[in-house]
Amino acid sequence: MNRVSIWIDLVKLLGGFAAIWVGYVLLWPMVPDEFKPDWTLDEDLVTISIEDEEAIGDFILEAFEIEQSEVLPAAVDSGLWVIENRLLSQLDATDYEYNFYIVDNPAVNAMTFPGGNIVVFTGLLELSDTPEQVAAVLAHEIGHAEHRHVVDKLITELGITFVMAVITGGDANLIHELTQTVISSVFSRNQEQEADQFSMELLERSQIDPRALAAFFRKMNRENLDYADELEWVMSHPHNNSRIKASLEYEVGEGFESKPIDLDWDAVKAAL
């Protein structure tokens, strides 16, 4: 009898601890945002200015020889411009001048370079069914840029001194190193979630259905069986089902009307 009561006490103790822990995990998401205090951890990371970031971006674009390989058939160019414009016009107060570059490469890939430079491979355009899906991918990349994830990633991986050395000296080897990091390293799960959230908000404001992002992810999932190596966008953006789910469950505000992008997408793809 005594023994039992001792064990019961233990259960009460552990239960109390678990109740608080689990209680927080389950209940906190239900608290509306206005009541939540702002306790972000990494806000004031050591970082570099926008101008410096744009300088690095320029170095990298040069190194990557982006300008030269830009594909410019008129249909593609203007087609992309329609999509970009739809998104950019809804961006309030951005510090960046966004430049979109299209690279003739069958890889299904899109990358954010420092300085608001976003690179899209033609492989990705070919694989997209609708312009809305492309818009979703671009919005995601813009999200990375706006949240300064690229800069954070560079500084975390290479250190601030390295980055400063590149800005001030422009040494070819350092730039090469920097470029490698930009292309190859992966964003953290937190950063991906932030970019997803941003993209869905931006899509909503641009009157594009945010579920286009999920549609694109699922397309990647299906294609994965056949084009494993070429789906680099998948590799550099590791996603799991929760992200698809988040996109599908994103609740648009009242009065949202999705306006399809006025574009003959098939014609654009044909011109590639």
């Binding site: 005594n2 023994r3 009561s5 001792i6 006490d9 233990l10 009460k12 103790l13 601890f17 608080i20 822990w21 689990v22 209680g23 927080y24 995990v25 906190w28 998401p29 951890l41 990494d42 975390t156 953290s188 799960r189 937190n190």
Partner: protein
């Protein structure tokens, strides 16, 4: 006729020895019992606020003082037993925090925040109850923590506890009543 139970008479059927009452406990014993609960602040005395210093202090205090009397043993044991999970919890927090800081894959998510809150709360409660127990011990009173109280009582006052205490007779009573 109803049997009047005189609580001061030892109940031979109980597996436990009777508790000493406050007026039977000399001041020195009370102070030593109180001291057990103060070992958690030992880390403050040293310059390293690592969670393990408290545990070491509690363990040393326990082994140095336990034979002095059952009352002291009880309080030292309760303090030590409750210090153990507190220390492990705090180490866990430290480890998790360092992992988040240094590894990309570990994120500052809700699970961590929940754990932080639970641990902080647990530490606060631990300190409050320990201080309460310290005050009670100094008055010669028993004080029982949730779970640890009953466990310590069971370990110290049980008749099968073979530890020899200063001032107690060495062998268990040989003469026992017939019924």
């Amino acid at each position: 006729m109803e049997e009047q139970k005189n609580p001061l008479i030892e109940n031979v059927n109980s597996p436990y020895l009777p508790l000493p009452q406050p007026d039977e406990i000399p001041e020195r014993e009370r102070e030593d019992a109180m001291g057990a609960y103060l070992m958690m602040f030992a880390a403050l005395a040293s310059s390293l606020p690592l969670p393990i210093i408290n545990l070491i202090a509690a363990v040393i205090y326990y082994y140095v003082n336990r034979r002095k009397s059952r009352f002291i043993h009880f309080h030292s044991l309760q303090s030590l037993l409750s210090q153990l999970p507190t220390t492990f919890m705090n180490w866990g927090l430290l480890y998790w925090f360092i992992m988040i800081w240094t590894k990309e894959a570990w994120t500052y998510d809700d699970y961590f925040k929940g754990y932080v809150i639970a641990v902080i709360l647990a530490n606060v409660l631990y300190i409050i109850f320990s201080l309460l127990a310290a005050v009670r011990a100094r008055k010669g009173r028993m004080y029982y923590f949730l779970f640890f109280g009953k466990l310590s009582y069971d370990m110290v006052f049980s008749k099968s506890n073979t530890l020899v205490y200063k001032g107690e007779r060495e062998a268990p009573a040989k003469n026992k009543p017939p019924f």
